[in-house]
Amino acid sequence: MDLTTSYMGLALRNPLIASASPLNGDIDNLRALEDHGAGAVVLPSIFEEQIVAEQREVEARTRVAATGFAEAQSYFPAPDDHGFGAERYLEIVRRAKEAVGIPVIASLNCTTPAGWADYARAIEQAGADAIELNVYFIPADLTMTGDDVERRYVDVLRVVKTATAVPVAVKLGPYFSAMGDMARQLTNAGAGALVLFNRFYQPDIDVATLRLSMEVELSTPAEMRLPLLWIAILHGRVPVSLAASTGVHSADDVFKYLLAGADTVMTTSALLRHGVGHMRTLVDGLTALLAAREIGSLGEIRGRMSQREMRDPTAFERANYINMLQGYHAGRAV
């Protein structure tokens, strides 16, 4: 069985990628993921904002607070930065590269153009095989236009591409007026892959305390429909790798994404829910599914259910939406 796949030029032994999550910050987990068959790993994001905030916090807790009293010139031993700062993340990249043989993709989230470039360069120097841009961005400024938002993504990508030579993936949210055009713009700007989709954490309101609740809800398989749709639409129509992300819990889900046209399939929630050993379940499950259908390689099925390959391309478009809703109601009425 040939599960190998190419992801923005990286050769993966299979399409399953453990996407960015706190799990992947632990080197033991990375080793376990490799042992359990992961094709690649994405490290937790470097957040420029977090680095700056942490550095300020450390400064507030150590040097600034400490220089006003004769008996205590400080309250902590060296080093002064206590390991906070980019170096901590870069060390994870270095250690990950030492620990595993599968490709290591670093994820980056910055707030300033210079930050994107600096950290991307540092990540490359630390040995990452590729970079995933986690452009986590809510355009809450009401004067910002759709063009502005799109330009922001493209500009970030250009800055990073200029700064580094490693392949760069862009992880996107689904909220673009014209996702297809956005995908084209990013491809033209040098993206090696598009990761569909970023799940923006959405706040809830706690009615008891009247506060925002920021608890993270893990994804469910029901959420995979939207990325599935866009992967199916984009497959074969933009010269870029497509990574499916969101809702991958079982080998069936992986199989679906591959059928829609994904080059790789990412999972986080299932690993958080079931542990890193679940990677083995997915890989073995995929192998069994393919074997049962006597499929010898991924190439045979990738994109088989994409819009381009479908006999009825409109199946992915609006007309079908009406049918679905009708069918749903009919089902409930029984």
């Binding site: 004769a70 031993p77 906070f84 305390t209």
Partner: protein, 1201 residues
């Protein structure tokens, strides 16, 4: 790595010494004590980093439980052949003395490095003098003195080389703070130079003398009268050789480095008539002064003593010019009752012996004098005063300089206008706050500028005694010649005031030179600032023709994205306008430094800081100074006019930084100071303060309970009392049933509030309309200051609530008890002080406290003010600090005396019962004294008794009157931190708990030595990083509670106010009521934990919720009522240890720097927590019969029950 240092560097004395000591030793046994702690900290850090000594191995650094322990470990390591050192000062050195006699008696090579510090006498002083070193004179250690950072660096090596050759141990000392903390540009010894000074054959000889079973010997025998004396004399030849060895070592050192030293270094006129002899940094001041006087034609000189013991008369006589007619021996020490201080006696003896032996023709006139005790500034004017005194026909002996002694009239008067400050030296003075980073920025500036070849720099930093809102004054000198001025600036070309509020309460510009530069950080621009300045400030600016600049540093820093850090902005201003370097060159230099510091953090970080520099320059404005002062704003009085006379005359002077001007007669003779003076010091350290919302408040008392600074007070009162209330006075109906017409008010003492925000976080109420609003919130102080003062005055006029009607059992009730501990200078958000405040509320009027040295003795008793105060009856906590190591014993002494005097009082009362009335006598003797109402009743009876006794004649009546106060049950508390309880004072604490006496021990457990800067104690938790545990602590904290429980008759409680204030309250009351020893371990959040203390109470809650700090009480009394004595008050852990621990830098630091170790330690710590909780659960299930049986009460408990 230090080994890659350039040849010159800017270091403080501690670092300069540690640099050498670390490299020439194999073992360091350490213990923290100011001002020497930095040396030990550096050794520990370097060892953790794997830095090697000159033999290529990493020295072992071991923290001990006390300096006594450190000396013992040193002794053992030396006896086992390792090159071993230690670092200490003051009381620490005293604790080492017994071992030092042994080490010297056994002719063992070692060097102890001492940052010389005052010994606690009528008061503690952390500052420098030579009294500690003088106490070590008889130990047999050679004493080698250094007078500057460079000398200390060099002598550290000379001492090590000499001790190996001489076999006599050395104590190398330098002035605490003045040298240990002064930043100086020095030439740093290379490892090759160090290597060349240390002879390996001598190292191997040292090892060969070690104890070994291969060549066994017996050492440490006991002698009988037949041989002890002779054996004591065997070592004399070794001591005789020391001066020669030290001088030859110095000569060898000079060949290697070009820096030459003499045992007795003379400088001055070769034909000097008047000579000052002294040791330490003062010698540099006298040398510079003598040089100036010599230029004026005066025949003066100075003899600096380096090798003080063994005292070489031969070398001394050779160094002292024959022409000398008068000698003043200056000492930074005092020996009461002696014919003179030690060096004076040595000099006298030497000269007299020389004349008697015909080696010198005459004895010059020799006088002795004292200077610089407790780091009193010693300046050239004082040195000149001494030279002038020597010119008199009858110079005074036993004089003092630097003070006005109007009692014994010892002091010499110095000319305040005499100064030798060099005009080619730029002198810069900075007034800042501890929290604004001024000191850090100035240290950085000194280092940056001193990097320039041919530029020399000096930095010295003066701090006030508060831990929150502390004022810092930085004294910086820059010049093209080496700077030899170890005294505070006498005049300044540049003065920066980083906090505009200082201008209103002190004369910031006093030292400005004419034509100097003044920089003010203020939100007011160049066109509006002038009219806002107090008149005296304007007058100074005009009179001294100052160039005046303003910058809004907070705004510039915020705009530049520096998060409000003003230090970089103000540092840039200094570089731009102080004139140390041409402006462009200076700016280039600061940018160079930024690039060096931040390049590792990314080019954009460097760019952002560059932008901040450019923005600073663009927004630094010069103010056009009018021809004359026009302001009508005067300086704010330091203390209110109604303050007592002593506060006006003494305390206020100290508060405004003019304590140096106080005369001897103005100060208490025996260290006794009035309580309650903190209330007069309105420090206004925070612009945002707590603001009460009476509409929302549920009157629960949580905010006042948790407030670390006692600024939140509550009273209930009859609504009629509101008749005289100022407009807008905040009040609400009391929300308890059955109190119609009764109102409640919460008062916030805004000028004393530090804005820590703990009250806001513990407030359980959220506004239903805006959940961000609580019943107490932080708001800007300025707009409500006047109204707040009126409100406080009215609040204080309301009657204090009757203690016998207050519910002591609830937090809600306790808020109505007056705190007798208030407005301390503890850190904003301190976790210790709320416990002390509660202690004072519950038992304050009959409380006697023994307080171990540490944070609580500093915020509790560091002058100028005292936070322990009195109630309306004039009663309150009687507080004293003895030492660090003896606090439990000190407190037990209180109990022993109280028990004895109670016994005496009871006996006398029984005898005098017919005279005072049987009914009264019996009522007093039989009175229950547990409830507050019972105590109030007993007080009334005792007051009546005292009235009767006062009117009676007879010895018995007078005697009873002198001890009658003991008939009211006294509450004796022994208070201290974990450094005391777990480490240095543990032996004493254990013993005191074993006595069965009725003492109450409160351990304010911050899990580190907080006061000295966060060194690990045995309470430091597994996995936390602390100084002396730089790689993470590898052992779990000691379970002091279980050890005490093992006695069976000790009441033990573990509390965390933030987790369960009610349980805290219960434990305090049970402990106090228990008629035997009690121990309370109180979890105290601390700045050394590394999180925002605003969330201190929440973090305490997590400590309990994670099972790390379970709450429990072990009450032996419960056995007598058939209950289980051990009660576990907190539930099984509901969150992981990580969830609690990783909120704190002390844990997260290791997770970042060594994730593998952190993971391993966290897992071990979690396991320890789980197991410990299981163990407590098992204890909680035991019946009373399964604990050590209780014994009969001892002392007062037996007498009165």
């Amino acid at each position: 790595m230090l080994t890659d240092r350039p040849l010159t560097d800017t270091l403080d004395g501690n670092t300069a010494v540690a640099h050498v000591a670390y490299r020439v030793n194999e073992v360091c046994a350490i213990y923290p004590i100011t001002p020497s702690s930095t040396m030990a900290e550096l050794a520990d850090e370097w060892s953790a980093q794997g830095l090697t000594n000159i033999w290529g191995n990493v020295p072992v650094v071991q923290e001990m439980q006390s300096e006594g322990g450190a000396a013992g470990a040193v002794h053992g390591a030396l006896q086992s052949g390792a090159l071993t050192t230690t670092f200490t000062a003051s009381q620490g050195l005293l604790l080492m003395l017994p071992n030092m006699y042994k080490i010297a008696g056994e002719l063992t090579a070692t060097v102890f490095h001492v940052a010389a510090r005052a010994i606690a006498t009528q008061a503690l002083s952390i500052f420098g003098d030579h009294n500690d070193v003088m106490a070590a004179r008889p130990t047999g250690f050679a004493l080698l003195s250094s007078g500057s950072v460079q000398e200390a660096h060099d002598s550290a090596l000379i001492a090590q080389a000499a001790t190996l050759e001489a076999r006599v141990p050395f104590l190398h000392f330098f002035d605490g703070f003045r040298t240990s903390h002064q930043l100086d540009k020095i030439e740093v010894l290379s490892d090759a130079q160090i290597r060349a000074m240390i002879r390996d054959d001598l190292v191997r000889a040292h090892r060969a003398r070690a104890l070994t079973p291969e060549r066994p010997v017996v050492r440490g025998t006991a002698h009988n009268p037949d041989t002890f004396f002779q054996a004591r004399e065997t070592a004399n030849p070794y001591y005789a050789r020391v001066p020669g060895i030290v001088q030859s070592t110095m000569d060898r050192f000079a060949e290697l480095t070009g820096r030459a030293y003499r045992l007795f270094e003379y400088a001055g006129a070769p034909d000097a008539e008047r000579v000052i002899v002294l040791m330490g940094s003062g010698a540099e001041t006298v040398r510079e002064t003598a040089a100036v006087l010599q230029e004026r034609g005066e025949r003066v000189g100075v003899l600096q003593v380096r090798l003080y013991r063994p005292f070489s008369a031969e070398h001394f006589l050779a160094a002292l010019p024959e022409s000398c007619r008068a000698v003043a021996v200056l000492e930074q020490a005092k020996e009461s009752g002696a014919p003179g201080e030690p060096l004076y006696l040595d000099v006298m003896t030497t000269l007299a012996s020389a004349v008697a032996a015909g080696r010198r023709a005459t004895v010059p006139r020799v006088v002795g004098g004292r200077y610089g005790l407790g780091s009193k500034n010693f300046n050239p004017a004082q040195a000149k005063a001494v030279f002038d005194e020597l010119r008199k026909p009858e110079p005074r002996n036993g004089f003092t300089v630097g003070i006005d002694d109007d009692v014994s009239h010892t002091s010499l008067t110095s000319d305040p206008d005499f100064t030798i400050e060099r005009e080619d030296v730029v002198r810069a003075l900075f007034y800042g706050l501890g929290a604004d980073g001024t000191v850090g920025a100035n240290k950085n500036s000194v280092k940056i500028l001193a990097e320039d070849e041919g530029m020399y720099a000096q930095g010295y930093f003066v701090y006030d005694s508060h831990k929150s809102g502390a004022q810092t004054i930085s004294h910086l000198r820059f010049g093209r010649q080496p700077i030899r001025a170890p005294y505070l600036l006498e005049s300044a070309n540049f003065i920066a005031c980083h906090q505009a509020a200082f201008l209103e309460r002190m004369d910031v510009l006093r030292l400005a030179v004419e034509g100097g530069t003044f920089l003010l950080n203020t939100p007011h621009g160049p066109d509006e600032i002038w009219d806002r300045l107090p008149r005296p400030v304007q007058e100074r600016i005009v009179e001294k023709k100052l160039r005046f600049f303003v910058i809004d540093a907070t705004k510039v820093a915020t705009d530049a994205g520096l998060g409000g850090r003003i230090n970089t902005v103000l540092q840039t201003c200094f570089f731009a306008i102080a004139g140390v370097l041409p402006r462009d060159e200076a700016i280039a230099r600061i940018k160079g430094a930024i690039e060096k510091s931040y390049s590792g953090k990314g080019a954009h970080v460097v760019r952002k800081n560059f932008e901040a520099v450019d923005n600073t320059l663009a927004r630094l404005y010069e103010v056009r100074v009018p021809a004359e002062a026009t302001s009508i704003v005067e300086l704010t009085p330091v203390v209110p006019r109604f303050a007592p006379e002593f506060v006006q005359l003494v305390t206020a002077r100290m508060m405004e930084g003019r304590g140096d001007e106080l005369r001897v007669s103005q100060l208490p003779i025996d260290g006794t100071w009035p309580p309650g003076t903190a209330a007069f010091e309105k420090r206004n350290v925070s612009d945002i303060v707590a603001v009460w919302d009476p509409e929302l408040c549920v009157q629960c008392g949580q905010c006042g309970f948790a407030c670390p600074h006692s600024v939140i007070r509550a009273k209930y009162y009859d609504e009629d009392a509101l008749g005289g209330a100022p407009a807008g006075y905040k009040s609400a109906p009391v929300n308890a049933r059955g109190y119609p017409g009764v109102r409640f008010s919460l008062e916030v003492y805004g000028e004393d509030c530090t804005g820590c925000g703990i009250c806001v976080e513990v407030c359980p109420v959220h506004s239903p309309r805006d959940p961000g609003v609580k019943a107490i919130n932080l708001g800007p102080k300025a707009p409500m200051l006047d109204a707040s003062r009126e409100s406080i005055a009215f609040f204080e006029s309301l009657p204090m609530n009757d203690r016998s009607r207050v519910d002591f059992a609830t937090v809600r009730g306790v808020q109505f008890l007056e705190p007798l501990f208030e407005f301390s200078g503890a850190c904003a958000g301190c976790g210790e002080t709320p416990y002390l405040k509660v202690l004072s509320q519950l038992f304050g009027d009959r409380l006697q406290i023994a307080n171990a040295t540490g944070c609580s003795s500093i915020y509790g008793g560091n002058l100028p003010v005292t936070p322990w105060t009195v109630n309306g009856e004039g009663r309150g906590p009687a507080w004293s600090n003895s030492l660090f190591e003896d606090n439990a014993e000190f407190g037990l002494g209180f109990r022993l005396a109280a028990d004895k005097h109670l016994e005496l009082a009871a006996t006398l009362l029984r005898r005098l019962a017919p005279d005072v009335g049987d009914e009264l006598a019996n009522a007093i003797l039989d009175a229950p004294q547990e409830r507050e109402s019972e105590l109030r009743a007993q007080r009334a009876r005792v007051d009546l008794l005292k009235q009767k006794l006062a009117a009676m004649d007879g010895e018995a009546a007078h005697d009873l009157l002198s001890v009658a106060d003991h008939l009211v049950r006294r509450s004796i508390w022994i208070v201290g931190g974990d450094g005391w309880a777990y480490d240095i004072g543990y032996g004493g604490l254990d013993h005191v708990l074993s006595t069965g006496r009725d003492v109450n021990v409160l351990v304010l457990d911050t899990e580190v030595y907080s006061n000295t800067g966060g060194q690990a104690s045995k309470a430091t938790p597994l996995g936390a990083v602390a100084k002396f545990a730089a790689a993470g602590k590898r052992t779990a904290r000691k379970d002091l509670a279980l050890q005490a429980i093992a006695y069976g008759n000790v009441y033990v409680a573990q509390v965390a106010m933030g987790a369960n204030p009610q349980q805290t309250l219960l434990a305090f009351r049970e402990a106090e009521a228990y008629p035997g020893p009690s121990l309370i371990l109180a979890y105290s959040t601390c700045i050394a934990h590394g999180f925002d203390l605003r969330y201190g109470m929440q973090q305490q809650d997590l400590a309990a919720a994670s099972g790390y700090w379970p709450l429990f009480r072990f009450n032996p009394v419960m056995r007598t009522v058939g209950e289980r004595p051990f009660l576990l008050d907190s539930p099984r852990p509901t969150v992981s240890l990580e969830k609690y621990a990783y909120n704190e830098l002390r844990y997260r630091s290791l997770a970042n720097t060594d994730p593998d170790a952190a993971k391993e330690l966290l897992a071990a710590a979690q396991q320890a927590v789980t197991e410990k909780y299981r163990q407590y659960e098992e204890l909680a299930s035991r019946g009373g019969e399964r604990f050590h049986p209780e014994t009969a009460p001892v002392g007062a408990a037996a007498l009165m029950n």
